[in-house]
């Protein structure tokens, strides 16, 4: 049986999605983590909504990055543990296609879910409804970019015993531009100024990683799987 690269791509995406929905706790944990971290800030700082609104974009974005990072751990892990990843690598389809499919599916179930939950968190932190559109777009672009960057990091740390901390150490410095532009765009939207510039830069980063990161992540897997 032979399937084209495109067909293989969608088959893997569907397989990943189905597996994720069969393990709903894995989907919920990063979201709950996101909610808990954003709850910590008001508790630790102040209950004044005016102060919260000033720091809300930063808090929201830091929490989103950390939570997305947490979920990266199971991007390749279970498939690497039971040998599925090796089978996929041997399937004759380019590793790049496989990595891209897995990462996209991973973003659909974690990143996109995070984006959908963010209005709740945004409301709790005092972000005005007018700024929600910018917040949602920036988070969608940012989490997708982080998923690509994270795929490289996750590929490099497969099979390491304490890979989780190392994964954060590797990926977070690379993700700092995302935080700057993402929180910047949200901040501008909250204060009512034009956020288009930061959003364009985020979109540029997203396109950049979408096109190059699959190759880097596939190279990473080739190093760690062999």
């Amino acid at each position: 049986m032979t399937v084209g690269a495109w067909e293989a791509f969608w088959l893997i995406v569907r397989r990943e999605m189905r597996l994720s929905f069969r393990r709903p706790e894995q989907l919920l944990q990063p979201l709950v983590f996101f909610l808990i971290v954003t709850t910590l800030f008001p508790l630790g700082l102040s209950l004044q909504l005016s102060l919260l609104r000033d720091i809300a974009p930063g808090v929201l974005w830091v929490a989103a990055l950390l939570s997305a990072l947490l979920s990266l751990d199971f991007l390749f892990k279970s498939d690497a543990d039971d040998g599925t990843l090796e089978q996929l690598a041997l399937s004759g389809h380019g590793l790049t296609v496989i990595v891209a499919a897995k990462t996209l599916a991973h973003w659909l179930v974690t990143g996109l879910a995070l984006v959908l939950v963010s209005p709740i968190v945004g409301t709790a932190l005092g972000i005005p409804v007018d700024a929600f559109a910018t917040m949602l777009v920036s988070l969608a672009l940012g989490t997708l970019t982080l998923s690509w960057l994270g795929a490289i990091g996750a590929g490099l740390t497969i099979g390491l015993r304490r890979g989780n901390v190392l994964l954060s150490l590797i990926v977070l410095p690379l993700a700092m531009p995302l935080l700057i532009f993402g929180a910047g765009a949200t901040d501008r939207a909250v204060s009512g100024t034009n956020a288009a510039g930061a959003l364009y830069l985020l979109a540029a980063l997203c396109v950049f990683t979408c096109t190059l990161a699959p190759f880097a992540a596939a190279a990473a897997l080739r190093i760690t799987l062999e």
């Binding site: 490289i152 531009p177 950049f208 880097a216």
Partner: protein
């Protein structure tokens, strides 16, 4: 004409070259850094605004330049090693990383020491300081990834890939942090033709820069010998090299 290039892939040859070059680099580094320090700290006039505190640039600026230069070298060596499977490239990258990380730390420490009298604070979230800090994190990431693998060959290749990915990201990180309002003074030396720094201040600085390059060369040669010996410890030439 390419034979010299091929020779560079051979560990015994590289070991010999590194051993031969090391004293030259070290001697010249002592001379240039010596001149830079004496002329910079002793004879250059104090800055009309910053007084004597500006003299810290004689250490700060070269180490900041070197931190980026060494990262680039490490990524290039890693890339060469990945593409052409030249193991010596990994040895160069592994030998460079701690030197680069130390110089990055030195740039950060001297920068904050300069910041206290000038800005009134040891640390400001200024773009250049921040991107230097992120560069330090990148170094730490590459070094930890290399040591995390039990199989050193795999660790080498993983670290090389991360260094290349990081090198692609360094300009992005740099320009993203430049977005903030900068406290840091603009570039004074890089403006070719008419630098906005007096010659009596500039020459010691350039001498320090050359000296830091040579110092990097010397330490790299020293560390590279160690790396090559450690990596090739199973082979016969190492046993002979150690005996002699």
């Amino acid at each position: 004409m390419w034979t010299w290039f091929y020779k560079l892939a051979s560990p015994p040859y590289v070991y010999g070259v590194a051993a031969a070059l090391m004293p030259w680099f070290l001697g010249l580094a002592v001379l240039t850094i010596g001149y830079g320090l004496i002329a910079g700290l002793g004879f250059a006039p104090p800055d009309y605004q910053q007084g004597d505190a500006f003299r810290i640039i004689y250490v700060h600026v070269p180490s900041a330049w070197m931190s980026e230069f060494i990262y680039t070298t490490m990524a290039l060596a890693g890339g060469i090693a990945l593409i052409w499977r030249i193991k010596v490239g990994h040895a160069v990258a592994a030998a460079s990383a701690p030197i680069g990380a130390s110089l990055t730390l030195l740039a950060l420490v001297t920068g904050s020491m300069w910041g206290k009298p000038m800005w009134g604070t040891y640390w400001a979230w200024d773009p250049r300081l921040t991107s230097e800090l992120i560069l330090l994190f990148l170094y730490v990431g590459v070094m930890s990834l290399r040591s995390a693998f039990e199989d050193p060959a795999r660790g080498d290749r993983a670290a090389a890939l991360l260094a290349v990915v990081g090198a692609v990201n360094v300009p992005i990180i740099h320009y993203s942090v430049v977005w903030w309002n900068s406290l840091h003074q603009g570039a004074t030396v890089a403006k070719l033709g008419k630098p906005s720094i007096a010659g009596s201040m500039l020459w010691p600085l350039l001498s320090m820069f050359v000296g830091f390059m040579l110092f990097y060369g010397a330490v790299l040669c020293l560390r590279l010998q160690g790396e090559v010996l450690n990596r090739e410890r199973q082979s016969a030439w190492v046993r002979e090299a150690i005996k002699s």
